[in-house]
Symmetry: D3
Subunit: 116 residues, 6 copies
């Protein structure tokens, strides 16, 4: 695991635990439906659904969400060319305002690959 990925994963895990300890039913259900949306099964292959989550995260400009879906998109079998092309759709739809997020996404992708 690369450094950027490790930092992200550790913080994410720790804070998700804290959030679920709040024992708020609404929050728990949102976490649960989030898992369901990307689970195996479904009409579209998981690899496609991960790219959908990636592009949605990119146009909404959420760096941590992008990181998460970059990890999952690779695990689901998408290659770099496919991931970059998916992000290019996000860039066209979302405009140049997306570029700084694309920089951080590509940096994270490099980190993921270098540690693979």
């Amino acid at each position: 695991m690369g450094k950027l990925e490790a930092d992200f994963a550790i913080y994410r895990e720790r804070m998700n635990e804290r959030i679920l300890e709040e024992d708020n039913r609404v929050i728990k259900r949102i976490y649960s439906v989030d898992s369901l949306a990307y689970a195996e099964g479904g009409e579209l292959p998981k690899r496609t659904r991960e790219l959908l989550g990636l592009v949605a995260s990119l146009v909404l400009r959420c760096d941590d969400c992008v990181k998460y879906h970059l990890v999952e998109s690779r695990k689901a079998g998408n290659g770099r060319k496919e991931i970059v092309e998916a992000m290019s759709i996000g860039l066209v739809v979302g405009g140049t305002i997306v570029i700084p997020h694309l920089r951080r996404a590509v940096e994270f992708l490099d980190d993921l690959e270098s540690s693979a």
Copy 2:
């Protein structure tokens, strides 16, 4: 062609022409790269790229963009189940604020299918 689709297509066509008549180089190039992003060829199948454009449009809550990608997603070979599942990803990522746009999307989809 259904009524909703026809209204949308006519207005869209007419105003795109007017916009391109402005003869602004920046605008023309954005239109051109928009076509390129969804053209045949590429790493991902067109049917996947259309779903990416659909979900990006849905989370950014652009009804006209959603309509456009609904038309194109169907043309590219996506069935209703796949389209709805793609939109369900947008709903999870974007939250209940997406629901009114999902209503209009499903209404438009019904219109598309009834006229097919």
Copy 3:
């Protein structure tokens, strides 16, 4: 029921039914958690939670969501002064871009009250 409220309620009901007929598990669960979030019970009074939903909808500039929470905010016992003050917070946070949505909100509120 006023004309604006009736038009909104009928369309909303009809399309929500269509959406749930898709039988997509993710979508159904989002609808279900949406109900839970504003249900009776909870730490904060329902009247407060409805105002939270109203302001969130206003700053995200979703007219239909605003309409829905205006109806529910009144049902939950909020008076006009309280509703308008809640919206004024949304205006400050969200800026003048919120004004057109505030216009439609006040028009809808007038419609709600005139038919009460």
Copy 4:
């Protein structure tokens, strides 16, 4: 005055009056600082500040705000070429999601000019 401009101006005026009748101090002050921001005087010419308001409205995808600043941009002395170029900046920054709003902006601009 063209039809689109007249419809917009009448509704805007009527609802602004209703909003100010709420007698909410926060809302009144936001209206007042909005006027101040585009008033004569200042470091930048009014014609430039109107274009700034126009582009901000376009990338935030607020059709009514765009309409208002189109009217004011012309009054302040901007020609069509300048207005369209300003909007092209908004299109690049905001991406293709801006296109449907650009269509309505150009339609409104045509209406403004045809009635001049």
Copy 5:
């Protein structure tokens, strides 16, 4: 005062001073109406208005604004359960894209409480 809170407060204070030294009338008035919106008095209790500001900040995904309203929400008398429930409304309305901001909010809340 916890470390996260102190870092935030010091930077915020220092830069607000710099901003007000610019002596721009529009900026000053926005700062002033911002104070007014959350001041004592008003139709809704301050504790409710702080939660409205918190949820608006959360759905607009502004971490610094969330931090500020977390501090003020507690000062105004809201307990952790109420604050978390308010944020759960923001999560439902804004979707999973809000989760990374919720993580940072809960981390900041822990810091606030540990130093109380």
Copy 6:
């Protein structure tokens, strides 16, 4: 060159190179139209177009985009008073949610000037 500016410029340069090495045609064209939009020539002076890019970036709350246009706005001949006034328009349109981004913008502007 100040420290903030240097850090930003180095990272930006390095990652833009990485992005262009992906050899994705859509991404390359977006970069190219981005350059065109702010190039010399055009209907509006470059100094005005840079302010348009700055305000669009500010209301969309993209810190890195704001930094970039602050550098370019100064190079194109805008003074601090003009830049701050342009940002005040962004603050009015975008609301108090813009304030944290304005803090970072003014900090960056100070850094730019101190190193000039």
